[in-house]
Amino acid sequence: MAKGILRAKAKVKGDNTVVKIMAKHAMETGNRKDTSGNKIPAKFIQTLSISYNGKTVMETNMGTAISKNPYLAFTFVGGAKGDELQMTWTENTGASATETAKIK
């Protein structure tokens, strides 16, 4: 039950699938200083792409102006209950992972 940083709620609504995703991430801007006055290095999610059945349905590039615990909601045509979404994120540090979520 190892969980990644992404949580998704994907629901079929009529002919469409509504997807809401939140990432557990501080989105450190690189502009902040710690208590001793040193700059906290930037560490944020740069890209998040979602695909369904091998087709990309959303691709997001994010900057430091995205809030902590980034949230994204969008809707695509199609999708079926029980199918999986693939969600791939990359960080500015180079870290990256692909996680999945079931459409409900």
């Binding site: 959303m58 691709e59 995205i66 615990n69 949230y71």
Partner: protein, 151 residues
């Protein structure tokens, strides 16, 4: 940067035939533009992404609060009734790095996205929508206030 632009242009012109070009747009979509995201002014950020200045359009709807409850988490959504939207971008003019996010909209995905942005202070927020026929925008001022209840 020229490279990036020409790729984008290729995507824009090819936008309407997308769907079969699944692999081609993926390449363009994946590019995170350092020049645009690290630009210190909205003008520079837009210059890095678009070859023309966006023109204001009533068919772009930007939903954002008049007064943000908290500048750290400002819910924003953008939708557009324009045909063939290929991307949506969000700018916060007065942020140190104005470009907040860029959403690539493949065919089959609605031109309707929501996210939450950070705002350092009161600023215009601008949504820019790209379609095959041009670049369109909508702006709104969002006030960020200093609360009395710091706690």
């Amino acid at each position: 940067m020229m490279n990036r632009r020409s790729v984008l242009k290729a995507v824009f012109t090819g936008g309407l035939v997308a769907g079969m070009g699944v692999l081609m747009p993926r390449v363009a979509m994946a590019a995170w533009s350092k020049a645009a995201f690290e630009a210190g002014s909205q003008e520079a950020a837009m210059g890095a992404l678009y070859s023309t200045n966006p023109s204001a359009s009533a068919e772009v709807t930007l939903k954002a609060p008049d007064i943000a409850e908290n500048g750290a988490v400002v819910p924003v959504s953008v939708k557009s009734s324009l045909a063939g939207v290929t991307s949506i971008a969000l700018f916060v003019a007065n942020n140190p790095q104005p470009l907040a996010a860029q959403f690539t909209i493949p065919e089959g995905t609605l031109a309707n996205v929501s996210c939450r942005i950070r705002m350092g202070k009161t600023s215009d927020v601008t949504a820019v929508v790209t379609t095959a026929s041009g670049v369109f925008s909508a702006s709104k001022e969002v006030k960020v206030t200093i609360g009395g209840c710091g706690g």
